[in-house]
């Protein structure tokens, strides 16, 4: 492990942004910020002292028969892409947990949602469906059931197979929303039938 301190950042107080005194770093009990007097503590790990590896730009090819990068023909190929097999230079090679990949394969994997590690955002359709189903039981929203119940059913059916939250990826919200929506539709049907029968009896 390198012992040089290369980073320029300092540990600062969360209350006043002033640099924290050394006495609070990895101390058994909390200390005080010298600036604002707030109780502060800091835990520093070995990564704090690790030097960042310098970036590589790719070596240029010297001979005509040397393998070159698919994306940069003037750069020397160092590794093939594990997905598509294209030769890559040091600049294009992306190491994803031991797997060498080219930028286009990463892009394709990200857009298709096949690489969970690159996914940064998801819409929770199960939460939307359940909220929509429950919201209409609030009295002022009750008359919206005829619109929300079909909408809930549509969301449940359309997005049943979409990726849920990466944590606790179960579909109970979809199931509950589905049953509530079916009950709501049944209620609408019952009311409509009663109305028709009432009108028929009146006539």
């Amino acid at each position: 492990m390198s012992t040089s301190l290369v980073k320029t950042a300092v540990l600062t107080c969360g209350a006043c942004d002033a640099p924290l005194p050394p006495s609070v770093v990895n101390a058994p009990s909390p200390g005080r910020c010298a600036q604002c007097g707030a109780e502060a503590e800091a835990a520093v790990f070995p990564a704090f002292f690790r030097e960042m590896a310098p970036g590589t730009s790719g070596e240029k090819t010297l001979f005509d028969d040397e393998s070159s990068c698919f994306y940069h023909p003037t750069k020397k190929a160092v590794v093939p892409c594990d997905i598509c097999g294209r030769f890559l230079c040091a600049l294009c090679d992306v190491d994803m947990h031991g797997q060498h990949m080219c930028p286009s394969c990463i892009d394709a994997g990200k857009s298709k949602g096949k690489m969970e590690q690159l996914e940064v955002e998801r819409t929770r359709w199960d939460v939307i469906a359940l909220t929509l189903a429950i919201l209409t039981w609030i009295p002022p929203m009750l008359y919206l059931i005829m619109f929300t119940a079909p909408a809930t059913l549509f969301i449940v059916i359309r997005y049943w197979n979409t990726s849920l939250s990466p944590v606790r990826p179960n579909r109970w919200r979809f199931v509950v929303a589905f049953f509530i929506a079916v009950c709501q539709l049944g209620l609408i049907g019952l009311l409509a039938t009663m109305f028709v029968m009432e009108v028929g009896a009146y006539e």
Binding site: M1, T3, L5, K7, A9, V10, L11, T12, C13, G14, A15, C16, D17, A18, P19, L20, P21, P22, V25, N26, P30, C33, A34, Q35, C36, A38, E39, A40, E41, A42, A43, V44, F45, P46, A47, F48, F49, R50, M52, I83, C105, G109, K114, M115, E116, Q117, E119, V120, E121, R122, T123, R124, W125, V127, I128, T131, S165, P166, V167, P169
Partner: protein
């Protein structure tokens, strides 16, 4: 290309929403993955993920804040005001017990909030450092929870980074922290570090000082209205509240991406919350007045008593909060100006030939 989905087996404690989940309902949760910490930021129906690999986590800092204590003081003031007026209405002024019960229920609800806030423990701010940035973990807003998570993360990060930092490294870090502290004298250190870390616009806090002085004027008006209820016509006091809201919104917008210290910004947000509360009470009062007017001669004495008490409660709350917030705000602003002056001084000196 597709790999087996990562299984997150353990959720770390801490779940919080910014701004009480009202305007900006951003929630945050932490989950432990096999080799990384997953930070999930939730905004309504969208989840945004950030993955911090254990080998990249450099440090965690926890700073105790006074937000919880301030909230307790606010709760205590509100509860005592409602309680005192309720008791006064029933025992001293001999008004209808309905009004006293109504105020008593509000006081008990506020006391419940106070008890819950005390039960959760002191508040704090927690930051996680990586080689390229510093992330605030706002879900760890309570000190006890933050310490528990820090203890767990420390064990995991040290296992992933194979060991604890060398004593020589720690000495270097201590020297660095000390030298940064010494580089800039006294109060200027905070401003210098803050400005160096982020490119912020300088704000002299004129709008904020106007807001704090307007609050003082409002306090004077509240005293007048408590002593002489017909001192000011309703449109004038309502217009003044509208002006306060306008200046507060302007201050909130102005302080965004500015170098105003966090305590001044927090006071402005507290004023904003207090004004929302005030408008809510004024709304209830208007609804009660209109209801009483529709009843005409049949208006029950309890309703009339409730209106009178509500006016006094609103004015009492105004008085206490106006004085408290304006004095705190002016004091913080004066500190900031003194600090800014200390920071600007060397730059203002003419260069030596």
């Amino acid at each position: 290309m597709s790999k087996a989905p990562v299984v997150y087996k353990r959720k770390l404690p801490g779940k919080a929403k910014r701004g009480f989940g009202l305007l900006n309902a951003t929630g945050q949760r932490l989950w432990l993955g096999p080799d990384h910490l997953l930070v999930i930021n939730t905004l309504y129906f969208k989840e945004r993920y950030k993955r911090f690999y254990f080998t990249d986590i450099q440090a965690l800092t926890i700073t105790r804040t006074t937000a919880g204590m301030i909230l307790n003081v606010v709760f205590a003031i509100l509860a005592s005001l409602f309680g005192i007026w309720g008791a006064a209405a029933y025992f001293t002024l001999g008004w209808d017990p309905v009004a006293a019960i109504f105020l008593g229920i509000i006081a008990v609800c506020i006391l419940l909030g106070l008890a819950l806030n005390s039960l959760f423990g002191p508040t704090c701010r927690c930051f996680m450092y990586t080689p390229v940035h510093c992330e605030e973990l706002f879900c760890l807003g309570r000190l006890w929870t933050a310490r528990r998570v820090a203890r767990d993360l420390r064990a995991i990060a040290e296992a992933a980074q194979s060991g604890t930092p060398d004593p020589t490294d720690m000495d270097k870090l201590a020297n660095r922290q000390s030298s940064v502290q010494r580089q800039t004298p006294g109060l200027a250190a905070a401003t210098t570090a803050s400005r160096a870390a982020q490119e912020l616009r300088h704000d002299d806090g004129k709008i904020h000082s106007s807001l704090f002085y307007l609050l003082l004027v409002d306090a004077v008006m509240s005293v007048s209205l408590l002593l002489w209820p017909d001192f000011l016509p309703a449109p004038v006091s309502m217009g003044f509240v509208a002006l306060l809201i306008f200046v507060t919104v302007a201050a909130v917008i102005r302080q965004k991406r500015s170098d105003l210290p966090r305590n001044v910004r927090n006071v402005t947000w507290t004023i904003f919350a207090y004004l929302c509360l005030l408008v809510f009470f004024m709304y209830i009062f208007t609804v009660l007045s209109e209801f009483g007017r529709t009843l005409g001669e049949d208006e029950p004495p309890a309703l009339e008593g409730l209106q009178t008490i509500l006016v006094k409660v609103i004015n009492s709350i105004s008085l206490v909060f106006d004085l408290l917030l304006s004095f705190i705000g002016l004091r913080y602003l004066a500190d900031f100006r003194r600090r800014s002056a200390a920071y600007e001084e060397p730059a203002a000196a003419p260069p030596e030939e």
